[in-house]
């Protein structure tokens, strides 16, 4: 157990160092783009036509005249205390905007990722246990096509089929705009709806979430399938699988109870990665489904040249990916007794 605690502490330290380094990278990037204090002031000035005097004032206020290492320490300090600057368009702290948009995306991305992982694990296991057979080829064809299709094509087709032809689900938005938004408690629309007991709103949120999440799941399950298949094929060749057969266990139990449990171990790490990619993929999906989450905000910020917002989003998403990786590492230890009990 002491070994596992030490392992955890080391991972926490690693994650922290990585976060600081990532902030450092963003800091360097910004300073390469804006080498002088005035350039820096232009990046954070809400008024694109600010006078030289104004810019100098802004630069002084933000400490851009300080030595570079002091600026860096300040920057790290600010990011870690949650100060990500003031939004250029809306004039409110960036943290508040992200706190507004992130839960919306998070809900949808989580649903999509879970879908991707479940479908991926299942199809991967099925094709590995029938390797070389017709099912194997069918699964392979399916995941190759969905994985290789650009996410915008998948989104457009999903919209067309389910929203316009079958008229099953709404094509855009987060919830029916005619419904009143429940009081904000957690920031997650679905959770807030449930807390407020507003079932009509909650149901509408779920309905609006299905198509974007489905698109995300379709676009990313292939990665899980591919890895599951590979690790399963290796696991199925192991002696413990043969021993399970020798006990007289049925094939279903051997494949899902024995081989898949072992194949899951490396896949846990991939799930963190999926989450990272999904956040990126969500940008396009949110744009097309008019789903006003963080990705939508990111694209809007690009069109508005809202530098402060873009940097803030980059840092927040970077940190969340590092945290997701950390969680994956811990899960890895929990699933594998060899790590947990060493």
């Amino acid at each position: 157990m002491a070994g596992f605690v030490a392992f955890l502490i080391r991972r926490v330290a690693n994650a922290f160092v990585t976060i600081v380094l990532m902030i450092f990278l963003v800091f360097i990037l910004v300073h390469v783009v804006a080498p002088t204090p005035i350039d820096m002031a232009k990046l954070v000035s809400p008024n694109p036509r600010a006078s030289m005097q104004d810019l100098e004032n802004i630069a002084r206020d933000h400490g851009f005249y300080e030595p570079i290492y002091i600026q860096f320490v300040h920057y790290v300090e600010q990011v870690l205390t949650g100060n990500l600057g003031t939004d250029l368009q809306q004039g409110v702290p960036e943290v508040d905007l992200i706190a507004q948009y992130l839960p919306i995306s998070f809900e949808m991305v989580l649903a999509g990722s879970i879908l991707a992982v479940l479908v991926g694990l299942y199809t991967g296991a099925v094709s590995a246990s029938n390797r070389g057979g017709a099912t194997d080829y069918a699964v392979k064809g399916l995941y190759l096509v969905t994985w290789a299709a650009p996410i915008f094509v998948v989104a457009v087709i999903v919209q067309l089929v389910f929203a316009f032809w079958l008229k099953l689900l709404p094509a855009s938005g987060i919830a029916n705009p005619l419904l009143a938004t429940p009081t904000r408690v957690t920031g997650f629309p679905l959770l807030d709806g449930i807390i407020a007991g507003d079932w009509a709103y909650s149901w509408s949120v779920v309905q609006h979430m299905i198509l974007p999440a489905l698109t995300l799941g379709l676009a990313s399950f292939g990665v899980v399938t591919r890895l599951t298949r590979a690790t399963m094929v290796d696991a199925l060749d192991k002696d413990y699988v043969k021993l399970a057969y020798m006990k007289g266990l049925p094939k279903r139990k051997v494949v899902y109870g024995t081989a898949l449990r072992n194949a899951m171990i490396p896949i846990v790490t991939l799930i963190a990665l999926i989450f990272g990619t999904a956040v990126g993929g969500a940008v396009v999906i949110e744009e097309l489904f008019n789903y006003r989450g963080l990705g939508y905000f990111a694209v809007a910020s690009v069109y508005n040249l809202n530098y402060v917002a873009i940097l803030a989003i980059t840092i927040v998403l970077g940190i969340s990916v590092i945290v997701a990786n950390f969680i994956a590492d811990v899960l890895y230890g929990v699933i594998d007794p060899r790590v947990r009990l060493s």
Binding site: R131, G132, D237, K238, D239, Y240, K242, L243, A244, Y245, M246, K247, G248, L249, P250, K251, T258, R261, N262, I265, I335, D336, P337, R338, L341
Partner: protein
Amino acid sequence: MLLQVEDLHVTYDTVYGTLNALNGVNLSIEEGETVALVGESGSGKSTLGLSIVRLLPPNGRYSKGSIVLNGKNVVSLSGSEVRRMRGTDVFMVFQDPLNTLNPVKRVSTQVLEALAVRAKKENKAFDQREGISEAIEKFKDVRLPDPEVLIHRYPHQLSGGQIQRVVIAIGLLLKPKLFIADEPTSALDVTIQAQVLKLLNSLKSEYKMSVIFITHDISVAYVIADRFAVLYGGEVSEIGEVSKVVKSPLHPYTKALIESIPKRSRKEGELVAIPGSPPNMLSPPTGCKFHPRCPYVMDVCRTENPPYTEADERTLRCWLYERPPT
């Protein structure tokens, strides 16, 4: 007759082409008898073991012949019949102790899985607590230390010798008629290997099981077996009583194998060595598979594969012992 393998051919499809792993193997095993399959890499000894329990890899195929185990032809059994056969008619232990138990499940879970299947086959209710105590008894039979503690551990907390004993215990719980062991001791230390061999020797008389012991080491085979089947190039080259084979090997390959074991110091002369290396089974030699390395090679050996012959109370495939054609 418990097991009768007749003219068995097994092939593997590979990108390099078709590999003939077994070419007409005949083998029969009586009840209560131990036969050792002795051979080097590529001889087909493991393939023979796997084909008896219907665990050939996906690219393997039975292309000819039959395996009759306890009255049923293994080659043509349906999926559910195979499941019924495994555990009750036959059980197999594998080589690598590191991979032979599922690393993510406790030993107890893995033993109980087997017991649950057995109870289902016998149409009996399965009780976990009873299962555990039965398993602990069996663990004592295989001389595992502290079975009460050990059964609740994970495999990585056990030594290689302990894992092989656990697997043997699982086998004993299922009470198979035929017990196949594929190099179960070759990854173990010498003293532990000896312990496991001794254990198997006492168990097989106690449980009156038939055993197939697969090994590359003829000395290990000698300790455990009643009869040898020496395999070379996917064929049985010689089958006979162990003491007879060791004292007076007939097939030139068996002879060379026994003579090449070092017995003296090099100051007293060089070792008897077999030239060349085992055949590449993708492009095996024509005729007798051993002819390129054989000191007694004749013309007929190069072109024609010898048939099975009986000589001096054993079966072998060699032209030297074939009566000249009349």
